[in-house]
């Protein structure tokens, strides 16, 4: 840099000060928070999960860069948002999914759901969930659409408890060759579909295994313990807001409690059902990583809370009455569409309402009171 450049005096509108938190930093924090889920997913589901994650991230980043080149924008994959989308997509896919589907999902996520909507910050729907939804409706069987043959798969998920999982066999086998029973083992829908069918019995050990993540499901959604750790990490580093996640989980809990209580007639019997509703499926993962996505959720505090409550309510309704055993994905996508309207729910502005028009304690009243007492004393 030359001396002249160094001496340049810059003009700009105030403030001339910045906190220095960058978009890139926030995305990096989300990636760090996702690390435990990735590691555990690989431990639980094996090499195939690792391949899925890597392929998903690489293709998301590459497709984003290609799209930006093609549309003559500045290539800004270094803000890490495409990488976050890639990891999130991989973590909501079953480990058995064929690799080409992962690539296709990533393409749909970053190009259709994000790029075509205007890129970072302008997308309406959560890219990772849109990618998943695309695969889900296009390739139902590969995505573990095992509710179709509910009856054939019974309690197959408990072979995880033995620690033996035919993962190598699975990863080498083609999807078509996998029996529907094994599909059940991999799909996150199983316990929820059984709950729906009323054939699922909850006991303490099951709840513990679900909490620890000793179960089947999508790569990243199994261990509630690790998700809670990620949630706390994101919360204390001020990356996410608590309102939407708590609104969502709270609503599912309350709605399930009311429904189970009326069905079973006893509060204590209803509690395990509530616990299972929270631990099974992708609720916790969605509440931590999906309803806290910046671009696709409201920016205002009341808006975020209502967003969470809405997503929770839709999740409960889909789980209870809908055609699918799990409703987290669709409920969040539906709420994504409503997010721009929820932004009209704002906090009370300063200078409006009660506090601005409250009556002051007049000093004059005190003075007239004093003179009055003084006068009475004189007349006495």
């Amino acid at each position: 840099m030359t001396e002249a450049e160094k001496n340049a005096i810059y003009l700009s509108s105030s403030p001339h000060y910045t906190k220095g938190t960058k978009t890139q930093y926030l995305m990096a924090m989300v990636l760090i928070a996702l690390l435990p889920e990735c590691v555990y997913g690989v431990i639980l589901f094996g090499l195939r999960a690792l391949i899925t994650i890597v392929v998903s991230v690489v293709s998301a980043v590459v497709f984003e860069a290609l799209f930006q080149l093609l549309t003559k924008q500045n290539v800004c994959v270094n803000n890490l948002s495409a990488a976050v989308t890639g990891v999130l997509l991989a973590l909501v896919l079953p480990s058995t999914i064929p690799i080409w589907m992962v690539v296709l999902g990533a393409l749909f996520a970053v190009v259709v759901a994000k790029g075509l909507f205007g890129g970072l910050g302008a997308n309406v729907f959560n890219p990772a969930l849109t990618g998943r939804a695309f695969l889900f409706v296009s390739f139902g069987s590969a995505m573990g659409a095992s509710w179709l043959n509910l009856e054939s798969g019974v309690n197959k998920w408990d072979f995880h408890a033995t620690g033996v999982l035919p993962l190598d066999a699975l990863s080498s086998a083609s999807i078509d060759a996998i029996s529907s029973a094994t599909m059940d083992a991999i799909s996150s829908a199983t316990p929820l579909s059984q709950m729906k069918a009323g054939t699922f019995v909850v006991d303490g050990d099951t709840l513990l295994q679900f909490f620890l993540g000793n179960r089947s499901g999508c790569i990243g959604e199994t261990s509630i313990l690790l998700i809670l750790i990620s949630f706390v990490f994101l919360l204390v580093t001020h990356v996410i807001d608590w309102r939407a996640p708590l609104g969502m989980v709270g609503t599912v809990a309350i709605a399930t409690l009311i429904s189970a209580w009326t069905k079973l007639g006893s509060f204590s019997e209803a509690l395990p059902e509530v616990a299972m509703a929270l631990l099974a499926g992708g609720l916790m993962f969605g509440a931590t990583f999906m309803v806290t996505d910046y671009a696709t959720t409201p920016v205002t505090k009341p808006g975020r809370f209502v967003f969470g409550v809405g997503a929770g309510l839709l999740t409960f309704l889909i789980r209870t009455f809908g055609g699918y055993p799990e409703g987290v994905m669709f409920s969040i996508l539906i709420m994504n569409a409503l997010a721009p309207f929820l932004n009209y729910l704002t906090a009370r502005k300063y200078g409006y309402g009660k506090k601005a028009h409250q009556k002051r304690v007049s000093k004059k009243i005190v003075q007239t009171f004093d003179t009055a007492t003084a006068k009475t004393e004189v007349t006495k």
Binding site: E3, K6, N7, A8, I9, Y10, L11, S12, S13, S14, P15, H16, Y17, T18, K19, G20, T21, K22, T23, Y25, L26, C76, N79, S81, G119, L120, G121, A122, D241, Y294, A295, T296, T297, P298, V299, T300, K301, R304, N343, T346, A347, R348, K349, Y350, G351, Y352, K355, A356, H357, Q358, R360, V361, S362, K363, K364
Partner: protein, 465 residues
């Protein structure tokens, strides 16, 4: 001890340690010249002197007959050399009176006035004659502030000793060095307003509290004023937030502090009020902080009003060679970036900050990711991100609904924005467009009314063609 605060706000690095231990020293421009803007707060003044006139220190040199105005006085004794436009804070040009010192100390002060026995009207008149304006930056004429409409009763006077703007330490120094003057000035205001006083001190200056309380006790003002601690947070010193923090009241949208029964005074202003009564001295000098990373030795100075900042370099302070990236009149949160240092210090200049490249930021905007940090930081509880989105869509009505016209331009939203979106700049632009629209509408209506009454036949002629 309760520490008062408000919701929202930010915690920027204060960097007050650069200058907080430097006593206020008197300084004089090296050129022996001052450039005094004719108008410093209130309605435009007209010069009362012409080129070649000999003036004394404290002589009135510009005034207006409007109530909403404050006169300007010669800050040094000497000869008027020029009356011409000069760059002032805000990068605009304004008419200035240039006086060259004759080296003498001739003064033309008013006679002292006892504030505790004189008539209230005389007291207000004295404050106007002394040219006292808000010295925190806004330069609002103080006598106007102290004459609220009869239906608005002021029951509290708050001495704003928050000094929440980073780098600035001049109020902190004044409170320690001129404690008696500060308390005296506040007592005068309390006497005129018939109100109770609260000194709002940020917790980072809590060590000054015993000093102030000692002075209050020594003067026997214990029943009339007290010292309250407020949290060190930006923008704690904003009128609206200080009223909320200390009194639990809010100034209604579009209103004045008087609407919440409060009057807010700057530390420098009350000192000037004390001088105006005790010494008869008008507001002709002010203390300010010179700081920033590019400043060799940050300091606190007392200079005559109209001193060119450039005239203090290098005799009074020096800059690190090639380090300065921004010259800011004021602090980094709300100050004005200037093109060079050749602008005069006015009644509202509380500091000059010379920032290095690493202290300030010079990066481009990136896309808004909708993180909502600006919403959380806004001390007015507005929705900055939605205001920007509405402005980008040219939807001014919606921008107003999200609070555009209630924005105080404190800069909290821009400070926390991870995408470096120039929120405040966009709001300033949006506000000026809306104000222009309103003015245009008013003008159009007035023109229409004029046409309807006077030019009806002309219209008929136009119609037949």
């Amino acid at each position: 001890m309760k520490i008062h605060t408000f919701k929202g706000g930010i915690f920027p690095p204060e960097r007050k340690e650069l200058s907080r231990d430097c006593p206020i020293t008197d300084a004089f421009p090296s050129t022996k010249m001052v450039t005094i803007p004719v108008t410093q707060g209130g309605a435009p003044n007209t010069p009362l002197v012409k080129v070649g006139d000999v003036v004394a220190k404290g002589q009135k040199i510009a005034a207006s007959d409007k109530f909403m105005s404050a006169p300007v006085h010669a800050s040094i004794a000497g000869t008027v050399r020029k009356i011409q436009n000069n760059m002032v804070t805000g990068n605009g040009e304004a008419l200035c009176i240039v006086i060259e010192s004759d080296g003498s100390d001739r003064t033309d002060y008013m006679p002292p006035l006892d504030p505790f026995t004189c008539d209230e009207k005389d007291a207000i008149a004295r404050i106007k004659d002394a040219g006292i304006v808000g010295m925190g930056g806004a330069q609002f004429p103080t006598h106007v502030k102290m004459s609220p409409p009869p239906d608005k009763e002021i029951d509290y006077v708050l001495l704003n000793a928050a000094e929440c703007e980073p780098y600035l330490t001049v109020d902190e120094r004044t409170l320690q060095e001129d404690t008696a003057k500060v308390i005296d000035g506040l007592a005068i205001v309390l006497r005129i307003m018939g109100a109770e006083g609260k000194i709002a001190l940020e917790t980072n200056k809590a060590y000054i509290k015993p000093l102030l309380e000692k002075e209050i006790a020594a003067k026997g003002y214990g029943d009339d004023m007290c010292v309250e601690l407020i949290k060190s947070k930006y923008p704690q010193g904003c009128e609206k937030n200080i009223v909320d923090a200390l009194l639990g009241r809010e100034i209604p949208s579009g209103g004045l502090p008087a609407d919440a029964g409060a009057l807010i005074m700057n530390v420098g202003t009350v000192c000037a009020i004390s001088d105006a009564f005790r010494l008869g001295k008008p507001l002709i000098e002010r203390a300010l902080t010179i700081s920033g990373g590019a400043c060799e030795k940050p300091c606190n100075l007392r200079v005559p009003i109209g001193t060119m900042v450039g005239d203090l370099i290098p005799e009074v302070f020096t800059l690190k060679r090639g380090e300065t990236s921004k010259i800011i009149s004021g602090g980094p949160m709300m100050g004005f970036a200037m093109t060079n240092a050749m602008f005069p210090i006015t009644k509202g200049t509380s500091g000059i900050t010379f920032m290095t490249r690493s202290e300030t930021y010079l990066v481009d905007e990136t896309p808004c990711i909708g993180c909502g940090r600006c919403v959380e930081a806004c001390p007015m509880h507005l929705t900055p991100v939605m205001m920007v989105r509405s402005l980008k869509a040219n939807n001014f009505d919606e921008a107003k609904k999200f609070g555009l016209m209630d924005c105080i331009e404190c800069g909290c939203c821009s400070y926390v924005c991870p995408a470096n979106v120039r929120l405040v700049q966009r709001f300033r632009l949006g506000k000026s467009v809306i104000r222009q629209q309103m003015a245009d509408k008013k003008a159009a209506e007035a023109a229409k009314a004029a046409v309807a009454t006077s030019a009806a036949p002309a219209n008929q002629n136009g119609g037949t063609k």
